[in-house]
Every structure is written in structure tokens, then in C-alpha cells.
């Protein structure tokens, strides 16, 4: 018994020691882990931690771990874990002994049941995790994807990766000083984006979600990891400038497709509404743009990126040009939002002026290199020739030949003369020969010592010249080598093949076919004082190039023209102004209804600086105002007839207004020296446009309903008259044929043909001058400068109304204001000749004062005359076209966020991607608010946070007292 007791005691003590060691090990393990956690940058994933741990222990065993603190912590962890394992092993052995003992049979049975319960517990939880179900109990099912989207997503094949990239903590780049609303909006929008992304990820393994934060310490590694096999994504992430979501998929061939959207495309902040919400107390107001937009990106993942072509005459003006002239910022902004950008150079300098070409940027550069190489070869040839000449002179002078000595001496004297004058001297070769002859005659008269001195000077001079020529040869040779190297970088065969095509129209047409949108930037007036102007002639396209653009527009694709003012430069010394040069592109735009005058818009703030009386500063540089009034997107334009337009604004203007509201102030987009842009439609507003089509389809036919006299009259004023065919269609607008107040006019009801007899009578009553004046007056209603043919065409077909001029607002005015998306402020006026001259004062005469539209975008009907005899002609052909009256708008290495927004909105609209433009469709999100008076709020808080607990304290105390009484 004693032995048994002693044995038990020994076992118990050993058991205690093991337990003590085990607990100590556990404690040490905790301390060691805590130390290790702070001593090393651990990966966020278990796999990562495992790999790191293995590496660290390898280093520890090999003695390569330098960090002493980390080494100690790992030793503590190892020791602790060892003791813990020992304890567990001993306890397991003891447990097994108990279980398989006599009393242990019952326990074993219990243990078995518990083990089954554990398995059941784990199994049930594992099972539900394999197919997790979520039920959305919200009123508006905000955590449920619409059924139609789900059905489409289910059909997707392969895996789509959604990368949520948070670059900034704040919401919008538009705001230079983010405030609380921006910060709160950023957090809320991020939350909403995450919720939506999570909804997609719940669709199953076909969606893989990755988060990237620019401020994450592990960002670079993660970025490399994600983009290792998809360089397209890396490029897109590098270019992006705001918080964005990327959608990535790869086809079977491994090609990556990337689509992206900015956070603000998904939800936009309305700071103006936020500040005024809840009766001015404020609330966060967001404008959700819908889940469909997000889903569309996923569903159209493999859609080709829209390609934007930049049409310029000079390499300098391309997206690779210098920051003063190039469009690098435009390119980065577009590419950062999933566009492709290509430059097309349309002119090549030649001795006779600009030669029309159609080059890609690579071709243009290749061509420039070739030309440069030709020049360098010529220079090197000249140097070689000169060197041979000087070598011959040098040798002969050394040999003591008088002819060489004489010529060398003359050249030496000329060189000294050039040095004295500080430049090269142009000397008639005949006079040089005469001078050489004179020197040659004088040489024999020199004494021996004088001759020796002259010989020495001449030989030294010729030697120096030879050395100089050698240096020049080396320098130009090096340049030549460099150009050859540069040339070798191009695919010469492909470029040679491209250059083989000499038909400019055909080649340009082929290039345009690959574009979905073209931009024509024409920077003209950069500064008036000092005068820095690129003549508009430098931008002119050739007729056949414009013809190719016309063909491009006929296919319904978009055009953005950024056209600076074309005001004539003042003539020098009273010379007559140069004649107008043809401007085929602007003529084409005029055919489409755009009204581009030669005027330049100036601001009141510039009046003093542009005045001829302006006093210049000490350096002789006139001081111009640094800050110009910004363009206006927010105010409804005032139509020429007065009043306010209440129609829906243009989508671009609407989006820009939302952008302005997102920062609750103007966008501060300044514009200097723009030109006014007008628009007069060529046909009725109705979508079908059957009337104008009918009219235009009759191109080339005589009007059989009009007598020859009238016909001749109208033709004499340059009008192309064609008969209407069919019904008028859905003509809904009316423009008076007579611009003079009180003159009779005829009306055309919707769907009816005009009263030709009455129309004839009206036309017959007037002389050519009257008609022209009428039309000119009328043209003012639809935009000054509208071609008579276009106006009359419209008028003849159906835009003839009962209104008398001045009695009612012509409907065209409404249209004009609808299509204008950007205006100058009222403090502006337009000038035919904006260039300041001494004694000239400019202040904006009455009738020429702003605001003026400087940005117009319209879906313009394509004149059917453009189609000629083509068959079949498309139904209601139209193209989206925008004109911005400024050529430098998008020039520079970096676009401001507001300009970038305008560019993207304009491009998206021109590409008919209205769905990706931010809209305000009345759907707003804001925090729920409970309207309570101050007193009510206090009472609710006090009653429920203090009163209710006290009530239970009171009840408890009372019941305890009652119990005591019992």
C-alpha cells in the first residue's frame, strides 16, 4: 500500500511537473508570438505566414538571422511550443489509459457520442458554407442583384476578376480642398462599391475579387502579383488617377481584357444638394447611377476599347508633342479610362508648302527621320567637300606654293572680318577671286621674313579650319548614327508598305475606319499680348482629307473639333488684308449646321490689358489678367429671343453640372480667346426627319412646282433648291420665312405638305435682295452665318411657321440652347479683330456682348446630298458632332480634373455611350433623418437611456423589499 501510495505520489508529482512545464510553455509561446508579431512584417495570408516562418527558421538554424530580437522571439516560441506539445502528449496518454480502463468504457461511449456531435457540428457548418444562402430583408432589396442581371451573369464563362483599386482617401479629384462631405462621401461610396462587388462575388467562383490600396505597404508586391500575367491591367492601373474598379478576364488564348469604371461613375456626390438638404441643415446626398452600369462592364468585358484618332497637321501637335503644344494630358486621361488613342498626321512640309498626307505617328516620324537623314547626308557631303578643299590648300601652302598661300591668306582675312563683325560675311566669289589675284601679285614683293610669317599664319589657320571641319563631321556623323538607330526601331517593312499607298483619301479613310471618334485640335491664338498665334492656315486640311472625314461621318461616328478663333492677323503697314483662304473643314461643319464665325471672344477683365493705351511693366511685357472668368455649365443659356429655356439640358452639360454640384462651386474651367460656336439644324427636330429626307433625296432635280423666274432668282442668291417629296413627316418646329416683323408667312402643320402655291407667291413677291435679306435675317434666328442653302432648304421643306418674327420665340433658338453645353459669362464680348493696336480701345459694342456658346454638341443629320448616288442610303443618317471654340483646351502634359471630366463626357457622348455619363435621374441616396424637436430628442434620450434602466432598478429594489417583508 505504501509502495502504491509512493508510486501514485511520484506519478502525481511527475504529472504536475509536466503540466507546469506545459502551462509555462503556453505562456512562453504567447510571449514569443507577441514578440515575433512586432519584430517582423508578416503577410496577411496564412500561406504567406507559413512561407515566412519556414524561411525564418531556416535562417535561425543556419545562424543567418541577424535581428537579435526576432531571433530571441523565435527561440522562445520554439521552446514554448515544445513544452506544450510534451504536455499534450502526456495528457493524451493519460486520457487513453482512463478510457480503456474499467470505468473508462462508459466514458469511451460518451466520448464517442461527443465526437459524433463535434463531427455533426463541423459538418453542418461546413455544409452551409459550401452553398451560402443570404436573404435580403431590406425594403428595396438593395443587397440583391436584379433577376435579369443575374440571368445574364450566370451565362458568363471563365473567371472574371474584379479589382477594387483605392487610390485616394477622398472622393473626388475635382475638389482641391476636400471637406467633410467629400470624406464622408468617399467612405460611403466605397462601402456601396464593396457591397456591390460582394454581390457579384456571391455569384460563385466565376468572380474573383481583389482589393488594392495605394497606401498599403504591400501594394507593389500585390500589384505585381495580380498583373504579372496581365500587362493590360498593369497599364490601366498605372494610368488611372482616381478610385476605380477594374474588370479583368482572359480568353482561351490568354489574352487579357480589361474594363474599368471610376467610383464616381457608379455614385456621384451632390454637395450642393447635400448642403441644402433637410431644410438647410444638411445631409449627405449621393446620386447612384445604377447597378446596370456596373453589370454592363462585366458583360461587355471583351468589347473593344473605343479608339480615338487625333487629326493634326504637325507632329508637334500630337499626343507625343511638347507640353506647350502636345496632347499628352488628353492621351493619358483617355487611356486612363479605357480608350485607345492614335495620332494621325495629315501634312508634311514640302518646298511648295504643306503636302497632304495621311500618316500614323510612326509613319510621320519615320518620314521625318528619312528627311533628316537626307539633310545630314547633304551636310556631311558639304563638309567632306570643304575638307578636301582645305586639305589641298593646306598641303600646297606647306609646299610653299604662292596660289595656295594667297587663297589661304584671303580666307584668313575673311575669317578675322567675320570675327570682328560677329557673324558670317557674305562675299561675292568673284570678288574673292579678284582679291586672291591681287594678293598673289603682292606675294613676290614680300621679304623672306614677312613671307615666313604669312606662311605660318596661313598654315595655322588652315590647320585649325581642318580640325574644325573634322569636329563638325564627327558631330554630324554621330547625329546620323543616332537617326539610323532611331530608324531601326521602326518596322521599316510595314511602314514602307504603308507609305506605298499614295492615295491620301483612301489611306486616310482606312485610318479613320479604325477610329470610333476623331478629335481635331486647332490651337490658334495663344496670346494677344505678346502676340503668339499659330495661323489657321497651318491647320488646314486638304479637300480630299475633308472628303474622307465626310465619309467617316456618314458612317455615324463622332467628331470633336476644338477650333481656335480664325480672326485675321492685322495687316502690316496698312497693307490690305490677305484674301480668305479656303477652310474645307469649317465648310463641312457649316454644312452640318455649325456656325463658326471669325470672331474671338474677349472678357471685360482683358479690356485694359488689350487696350493700346496699356502701360507696360518695367520689362516691357504687358500684364494680362492671370485669372479669367470660368465657363458656365450651370446656368441655362438665354436664347437670342429672350426668356429662359426649360428643356432638358444637354447630357454633357448635365454631367458637368453634376460635377460642379459635387464640389458645390464652379469648375473654374477658364478659357482664353475662344470663338463663339453656333448651331442651326438643317432639318426638323423630329427623329424621322422624313421631310428633310424627302427634300434631300431629291438632290439634283429641278423644282417643277416653281416658275423659272423664281427659280432663277433663288439660284442667283446661291441657293440649291430641291423639291419636297412625300409628306412633311413629324415636323414640329417652325421658323418664319420672313425675318421682317409683320411680313406674311405660311404655316405647315405636322404631317402635311406645305402650301406650294402660297410659298410660290411669297417668293415671287420678293426681289433677290429681299429674299437674301429675309434669309439673312432669318438666318440670324438660327445662327448667324448659316448657309443660305441650308436655311432655305429647311424653310422650304417645312420649317415655315405662322409666327411672325419677334412675336414668339422661334423653336430653333430652343434647339440651339439645348445643344450648347458650355457658355462664356456675361462679361464677354466678341471681336472681329481682337489684336490690340496703338490707340485702339475694345470694350464690346452693344449687340456683341455675351454670354456666348463656346461648346456645342449635337446629333447632326447628315445631308443626304453627301450620299450622292449611293444606294441604299441609311435611314435618317446622323452623326454626333461637337465643336469647342478653343484649340488649346486639351493641350498640355496634364489635364485638370475638370477638363478631364469634360473631355470624357464629351467623348462618351460622341461615342453614344450615354449610359456611362453621370446623370441625375431623380434617384437620390441620403441618410435617413428623424425629425424631432430639441426637446423631444432630449426626452427620448433621457427616458430610454436613463429612465428605463432606473425603472428596473426601482422594480428590483421594490421586489427585494417586498421579499424581505414576507
Amino acid at each position: 500500500m505504501a509502495i502504491k501510495s509512493g508510486s501514485r505520489s511520484l506519478f502525481a508529482r511527475l504529472h504536475f511537473v509536466v503540466r507546469f512545464l506545459g502551462v509555462t510553455g503556453l505562456f512562453a509561446l504567447g510571449i514569443g508570438l507577441a514578440m515575433a508579431a512586432t519584430a517582423y512584417a508578416w503577410a496577411p495570408t496564412l500561406t504567406g505566414i507559413g512561407t515566412q516562418t519556414r524561411e525564418l527558421f531556416t535562417q535561425l538554424t543556419e545562424g543567418g538571422l541577424a535581428d537579435r530580437f526576432l531571433r530571441t522571439s523565435l527561440i522562445v516560441v520554439t521552446a514554448g511550443a515544445g513544452l506544450l506539445v510534451l504536455w499534450i502528449l502526456v495528457e493524451v496518454v493519460i486520457l487513453l489509459r482512463v478510457l480503456f480502463g474499467r470505468r473508462g468504457v462508459v466514458g469511451l461511449n460518451a466520448l464517442f457520442q461527443v465526437a459524433l456531435a463535434v463531427v455533426l457540428l463541423a459538418g453542418v457548418n461546413y455544409f452551409v458554407r459550401q452553398d451560402p444562402r443570404r436573404y435580403d430583408w431590406t425594403r428595396d432589396a438593395r443587397f440583391t442583384l436584379p433577376e435579369h442581371i443575374k440571368n445574364q451573369l450566370v451565362k458568363l464563362q471563365g473567371t472574371t476578376t474584379i479589382v477594387v483599386y483605392q487610390r485616394y482617401k477622398t472622393f473626388s479629384r475635382l475638389s482641391d480642398k476636400p471637406d467633410n462631405y467629400d470624406t464622408e462621401a468617399a467612405a460611403k461610396v466605397t462601402e456601396k462599391v464593396m457591397d456591390l462587388v460582394e454581390l457579384f462575388s456571391k455569384m460563385g467562383p466565376r468572380f474573383n475579387v481583389v482589393y488594392l490600396q495605394a497606401d498599403d505597404s504591400d501594394f507593389s508586391r500585390r500589384l505585381d502579383e495580380i498583373t504579372r500575367e496581365v500587362p493590360e491591367l498593369k497599364q490601366a492601373i498605372d494610368l488611372v488617377r482616381e478610385n476605380s474598379i477594374f474588370f479583368l478576364a482572359r480568353d482561351r488564348a490568354g489574352k487579357g481584357y480589361v474594363q474599368q469604371m471610376s467610383f464616381h461613375e457608379f455614385i456621384e456626390l451632390d454637395k450642393t444638394a447635400s448642403r441644402t438638404a433637410n431644410d438647410g441643415q444638411g445631409n449627405l446626398v449621393l446620386l447612384p447611377q445604377g447597378v446596370e452600369l456596373f453589370a454592363r462592364k462585366v458583360l461587355n468585358l471583351q468589347a473593344r476599347a473605343p479608339r480615338v484618332g487625333i487629326l493634326v497637321n504637325w507632329e508637334l501637335l500630337t499626343t507625343e508633342g511638347p507640353k506647350e503644344y502636345g496632347l499628352r494630358g488628353l492621351r493619358d486621361a483617355l487611356m486612363g479610362h479605357g480608350f485607345e488613342v492614335v495620332d494621325i498626321v495629315l501634312a508634311k512640309p514640302s518646298p511648295t508648302g504643306l503636302e497632304p498626307v495621311a500618316y500614323t505617328l510612326a509613319e510621320s516620324r519615320f518620314s521625318s527621320i528619312d528627311e533628316r537623314l537626307e539633310t545630314l547626308d547633304e551636310i556631311l557631303g558639304n563638309i567632306k567637300e570643304s575638307r578636301n578643299e582645305y586639305e589641298s590648300l593646306h598641303d600646297n601652302a606647306k609646299a610653299g606654293r604662292d596660289e595656295a598661300l594667297a587663297e589661304g591668306l584671303v580666307r584668313l582675312q575673311l575669317s578675322r572680318l567675320e570675327e570682328q563683325l560677329g557673324g558670317s560675311v557674305l562675299v561675292d566669289p568673284l570678288s574673292i577671286r579678284q582679291r586672291v589675284a591681287r594678293v598673289l601679285a603682292a606675294i613676290p614683293q614680300l621679304t623672306r621674313s614677312e613671307r615666313a610669317e604669312v606662311e605660318k599664319d596661313v598654315i595655322t589657320f588652315l590647320g585649325d579650319e581642318l580640325a574644325s571641319l573634322q569636329r563638325a563631321h564627327e558631330m554630324f556623323s554621330a547625329q546620323r548614327e543616332k537617326r539610323i538607330e532611331e530608324r531601326a526601331r521602326y518596322d521599316t517593312e510595314e511602314l514602307a508598305e504603308l507609305r506605298r499607298e499614295t492615295d491620301v483619301k483612301k489611306k486616310f479613310g482606312e485610318l479613320l475606319k479604325e477610329c470610333d471618334l476623331v478629335i481635331v485640335p486647332r490651337m490658334t491664338i495663344e496670346s494677344l499680348r505678346p502676340r503668339m498665334v499659330i495661323p489657321n492656315a497651318a491647320h488646314q486640311f486638304h479637300d480630299e482629307q475633308v472628303e474622307a472625314i465626310r465619309e467617316y461621318l456618314k458612317s455615324g461616328k463622332g467628331l470633336l473639333a476644338c477650333l481656335g478663333p480664325t480672326s485675321r492677323l492685322p495687316s502690316q503697314l496698312g497693307a490690305p488684308p490677305p484674301p480668305d483662304r479656303p477652310n474645307p473643314l469649317e465648310d463641312m461643319l457649316a454644312d452640318l449646321g455649325f456656325n463658326l464665325t471669325r470672331e474671338t471672344i474677349l472678357y471685360d477683365i482683358e479690356a485694359e490689358a488689350l487696350s493700346g493705351l496699356q502701360v507696360e511693366d518695367d520689362l516691357g511685357v504687358p500684364s494680362l489678367p492671370e485669372k479669367m472668368p470660368p465657363v458656365d455649365f450651370r446656368r441655362d443659356p438665354i436664347p437670342p429671343g429672350g426668356g429662359i429655356v426649360h428643356d432638358l439640358p444637354h447630357p454633357i452639360r448635365s454631367s458637368m453640372r453634376i460635377a460642379a454640384r459635387s464640389i458645390d462651386k464652379g469648375l473654374e474651367l477658364e478659357i482664353r480667346y475662344p470663338r463663339p460656336v453656333g448651331y442651326a439644324p438643317l432639318r426638323s427636330e423630329g427623329k424621322g426627319g422624313a421631310a428633310s429626307e424627302g427634300f434631300q433625296r431629291g438632290a439634283g432635280k429641278e423644282m417643277d412646282w416653281m416658275d423659272k423666274e423664281t427659280l432663277g432668282l433663288l439660284k442667283s442668291v446661291g441657293t440649291r433648291l430641291l423639291p419636297p417629296t412625300g409628306s412633311i413627316g413629324d415636323v414640329t418646329r417652325a421658323v418664319p420665312l420672313t425675318g421682317e416683323k409683320g411680313m406674311p408667312s405660311i404655316s405647315v402643320a405636322k404631317g402635311q405638305a406645305p402650301d406650294h402655291a402660297k410659298l410660290d407667291a411669297i417668293i415671287k413677291e420678293r426681289s433677290a435682295e429681299q429674299i437674301q435679306r429675309t434669309l439673312q435675317v432669318g438666318s440670324l434666328l438660327v445662327g448667324a452665318g448659316t448657309p443660305l442653302s441650308s436655311l432655305l432648304a429647311s424653310a422650304m421643306v417645312g420649317e415655315i411657321g405662322t409666327e411672325r418674327h419677334g412675336e414668339d420665340k422661334p423653336a430653333n433658338d430652343r434647339l440651339e440652347t439645348q445643344v450648347a453645353f458650355m457658355l462664356t459669362t456675361e462679361e464677354s464680348w466678341r471681336e472681329d479683330n481682337p489684336f490690340p493696336s496703338r490707340g485702339k480701345l475694345m470694350w464690346g459694342e452693344p449687340g456683341k456682348r455675351g454670354p456666348f456658346p463656346v461648346g456645342v454638341a449635337a446629333e447632326v443629320p447628315i445631308p443626304l446630298g453627301w450620299f450622292g448616288n449611293e444606294h441604299p442610303v441609311p435611314e435618317s443618317p446622323s452623326a454626333r458632332t461637337a465643336v469647342i471654340g478653343h484649340g488649346k483646351w486639351f493641350v498640355g502634359d496634364d489635364l485638370s480634373p475638370a477638363k478631364e471630366r469634360l473631355l470624357l463626357d464629351t467623348c462618351n457622348w460622341l461615342l453614344r455611350r450615354d449610359e456611362v455619363m453621370v446623370k441625375d435621374e431623380g434617384v437620390r441616396w441620403s441618410y435617413p433623418r428623424v425629425e424631432l424637436s430639441r426637446r423631444s430628442r432630449f426626452l427620448w434620450g433621457l427616458g430610454l437611456a436613463v429612465g428605463l434602466p432606473l425603472l428596473f432598478v426601482y422594480l428590483g429594489v421594490t421586489i427585494q423589499w417586498i421579499r424581505r417583508l414576507r
Binding site: G107, Y211, Y927, R929, V930, L932, W940, L948
Partner: protein
């Protein structure tokens, strides 16, 4: 009705039916056991109200929820950029709420077995005609009932949390309103009969009235809401009520889980204080995840939130379940299954714990 077509669908259908029948059987069995142990249930529940601890717990709990309520009230009536989209998230989506809350269920369960062990009444209880599982389930349901009652005062927050306005009552007589009224009347009569201490027959009648009345009231209310054009009671709610319902569902089930844990620990130790501390420590496993997530800076949508550690923590993290799902109106079955399964497992282990006293 869509009938199964494929053999797999039929197999699944059969499995669901079998599981449903089994659940019904278990419920029936449990209900029978509970009915047999109704005296114990009454004693356990009554003990809460007679002891000061229940009022302390109640007051503490209401202070805690009150603080959350005031915070939410301030956000709901705020001006400027601040606000709260989901009021229940501001109430119960905070990790600190759960750190305090996790002490309350153990406080409710600590006395269940530990006190009986200390006082020596457990042996007496075990020798009663009741089986171990009946004792455990009855004690558990008593705790759970008190837990549910504890939440009842928080319904007073709802007029604010739902922005209830313009409540209107009107007399509407339809078959469904009659059913609703009859159900409510039955419940009132049943409660009155229960107060009278009737004989067993009377008690059975009162129980039938109580259960039948409750079912009738719920059915009538539901059908009235769905089918009647005019409503007996209308109130406009400016804030979505879905998140409130889902939050209360989550709170009920998470309470069930914590109570199960507490009951198990209470059956294992003799000291009530130790029972509270160990229960809280175990409950911490389900709360600590939320705190660690903060430490990892791995709130949903961050880089860290995609890591394995976060995934593991979020599986068990009750604060995350609430801040991300329940309080926003999302009911995730995974969370429900976790809470219910852990609660059932703990109750099962508690039964084994009591049984093991016989053979240890």
C-alpha cells in the same frame, strides 16, 4: 407547385422531408419533456425575478443599449454630413457593445448549475423524476425566456429607429381581423387562467388556449396584413423595418449560443464567478474576431479583408456578422446555423456533463 424531376432532386426532397420530420419529432419530444418539467421551468424563471441579480443585469443591459440608442438618436437627428444609413448598425454593429454584452449571458447562466452545486441541491435535482436532458433543456429555456424578456424593453426604441409616424387605429371587420382578435383574446384568457392556479385539466386548457391563441393571432395578423385592403393599425415608417427584424433574429439566436456556452460552463464548475469568467472567455472567441479585425485594419473592402486570417476570424466574429449582415437587413444562413448548432452542441454537452456525474 414545382415537383422534383431528376433523381437528385427527389433525393434532396426526401432528405429535406426526412429532416423536417425529424425536427418535428425532436420538437415534439422536447415539448413533451418541457411540459413535464414545467414546475422546474416556473421555478427557474421565477428565481430570476426574485433575485436582485436579474435586475442588475437588466439595468446594466439597458444602460448599454441606452448608450447605443442615444448615439444612434444623435446620428438620426444630426445635421450636416454625418448620419447613419442603418440605425441598427449604429446600435449593435460596434465591437465595444459586444465586449460588454458578452458578460450578460454568462451572468444569466452562472447560477443554473454552479449555484445548485455549491448549495448541494443539484444531487436532489438529479434524483428527481426528471431526466438529465429535461433538467438541462428546462433550465436552458428558462434562461432563454429571461433573455428574450430582457430584450423586450428595447422595443421602445423602435419608434425612433424606424421613424414611426402617424399611427392610426380603426375598426376593420374581416375574417382575418376576427381571427386575430380571437387569438389575442384566447391568449389573455389563458394568461388569466394560469394566474388562477387551476387543476391540471384547467391548466391544460389554459395551455391549449395560449398556444392556439398565439398561433391564431399570428396567422390572423399575417393574413390581415396580406389580404385586407384596410388595416386595423397603420403607421408610416420612414426607415426600413427589414434590418430591425433581421437584427432581432440575430440577437435572439446569438443569445441562444452564448446561453448554451454559459450553461455548459456552469455545469462544469462549482463557483458562479468562475463560471461567468470562463463563459465570458469562451464567448470572447466569438467576439474577439471583430476586435482583431480592427487590429488588422481589415474592415470589409480592405486588402487585409481578403486574407485567410480575416476569413477565419470573420467566420466566428459575431460583431462582424452584425455590422455587416444582420443590422443591414441581410440574413446569412451560415451565421444562423453557427449560432444554433453551437447552442445545440453546448446543450448536448451539458447533458453529458450532468450524466457523467453518475459514472465519474
Amino acid at each position: 407547385m414545382n415537383l422534383p424531376h431528376t433523381p437528385q432532386e427527389w433525393a434532396l426532397f426526401a432528405a429535406v422531408v426526412a429532416a423536417g420530420l425529424m425536427v418535428l419529432l425532436v420538437v415534439y419530444y422536447l415539448a413533451g419533456g418541457l411540459f413535464q418539467a414545467r414546475s422546474l421551468f416556473r421555478r427557474e424563471l421565477g428565481a430570476y425575478f426574485y433575485s436582485p441579480i436579474a435586475y442588475v443585469i437588466m439595468a446594466t443591459f439597458l444602460v448599454l443599449t441606452g448608450v447605443c440608442f442615444v448615439r444612434t438618436l444623435n446620428l438620426l437627428t444630426a445635421s450636416g454630413h454625418v448620419g447613419v444609413e442603418y440605425p441598427m448598425q449604429a446600435m449593435f454593429g460596434q465591437w465595444w457593445f459586444w465586449l460588454v454584452f458578452l458578460l450578460l449571458p454568462p451572468a444569466l447562466t452562472m447560477r443554473a448549475f454552479a449555484e445548485e452545486s455549491t448549495m448541494g441541491t443539484l444531487e436532489m435535482l438529479l434524483t428527481s423524476p426528471l431526466k438529465e436532458w429535461q433538467i438541462v433543456v428546462t433550465k436552458y429555456f428558462a434562461c432563454f425566456t429571461f433573455y428574450l424578456l430582457m430584450w423586450c424593453p428595447t422595443l421602445l426604441y423602435l419608434p425612433i429607429l424606424l421613424d414611426m409616424q402617424d399611427p392610426q387605429f380603426q375598426m376593420v371587420v374581416t375574417p382575418w381581423t376576427i381571427l386575430l382578435g380571437a387569438g389575442l383574446l384566447s391568449v389573455v384568457v389563458a394568461l388569466f387562467m394560469g394566474w388562477l392556479h387551476l387543476n391540471p385539466t384547467g391548466r391544460i386548457v389554459s395551455l391549449v388556449l395560449l398556444v392556439g391563441g398565439t398561433v391564431a393571432a399570428i396567422l390572423g395578423a399575417r393574413l390581415h396584413a396580406l389580404r385586407d385592403a384596410e388595416k386595423v393599425f397603420t403607421v408610416s415608417m420612414g426607415i426600413d423595418h427589414g434590418p430591425v427584424l433581421s437584427t432581432y433574429l440575430g440577437l435572439i439566436l446569438v443569445g441562444a449560443m452564448f446561453l448554451g456556452l454559459g450553461l455548459l460552463v456552469s455545469s462544469l464548475v462549482r463557483s458562479q464567478l468562475v463560471a461567468v469568467l470562463i463563459s465570458a472567455a469562451l464567448a470572447l472567441v466569438f467576439v474577439l474576431g471583430g476586435v482583431l479585425v480592427l487590429a488588422l485594419d481589415a474592415s470589409p473592402g480592405t486588402v487585409a479583408s481578403t486574407g485567410d486570417i480575416y476569413q477565419v476570424l470573420s467566420t466566428f466574429s459575431v460583431p462582424l456578422h452584425f455590422s455587416h449582415d444582420f443590422t443591414r437587413g441581410v440574413v446569412d444562413v451560415r451565421h444562423l446555423v453557427l449560432y444554433v448548432s453551437v447552442a445545440a452542441f453546448c446543450v448536448y454537452l451539458t447533458v453529458h456533463s450532468l450524466e457523467s456525474r453518475r459514472w465519474r
